[in-house]
Symmetry: C2
Subunit: 122 residues, 2 copies
DNA sequence: CAGAATCCAAAATGATACTG
DNA sequence: CAGTATCATTTTGGATTCTG
């Protein structure tokens, strides 16, 4: 087996290996989604309540990301027909299945950031 | 304790809870970094070899992301003084510490994508 | 080979004002 | 309250050419 062959085989293996990652990034990637999901792990929340847990997010972005999460089946949106309106967001079962992944990310961040720093998104 | 108080307390707790996440997103967030790191978990690689394991990445982006990962101390860049040049990238100890997090992401992706789909980045 | 430099297009994000 | 709509800005990405 020549060197070239083993290199190509390794590349193909890596590409395949990266599939799951690519899918995950597609669904929960981006600047806001992990934080949104992580907040919702605490339980259902109304729109403005959720927004307050995520410093720096704009209304536009929060709504857009919530819609994408809903499309991908991670988040359920409950609209109550009241005045003033009330909308609650909560994780679906699929949404809850991201917990280990999100917890890993959060743990890693807490482990490696300087203890004193309080990091806000961005 | 009024409702408002408990809501505020919950928000502050969530904001703090999100710090680690925010830090993690800052360091390994973005479209390419998780895939780059995940590929490098396989071992050190030369620039073009690494590029082949990540379909869709441009030279410009790959270099830029590698530089940022280097700045954050996750990746080491070894330049060999040869002609033609050889540059090898490998994870530092800090880089390796992302393995559980990356593995979680990849596992989640593999678990939930349709088994037949082969997902390329983007 | 491993990039740097340049130019441009497209997408993501932000700020603000407005509305059912 | 929970968004929309609009516009401005930033970031990201791609294509191409060039170089030690």
């Amino acid at each position: 087996m020549r060197k070239q062959d083993s290199t190509n085989a390794r590349n193909e293996a890596s590409i395949l290996r990266n599939c799951g990652m690519a899918y995950a990034l597609n669904v929960i990637g981006g600047r806001w989604k992990p934080t949104i999901l992580f907040s919702l792990l605490e339980g259902k929340m109304r729109y403005n309540e959720l927004r307050k847990t995520i410093p720096g997010v704009s209304e536009r972005m929060l709504v857009a990301q919530l819609r994408e999460l809903e499309e991908h089946g991670l988040v359920r949106r409950n609209v109550f027909p009241e005045v003033p309106p009330r909308v609650e967001y909560e994780l679906t079962e699929l949404g809850h299945s991201t917990e280990p992944m999100l917890q890993c990310m959060s743990d890693w961040g807490n482990m490696h950031r300087k203890k004193e720093q309080v990091i806000a998104v961005q």
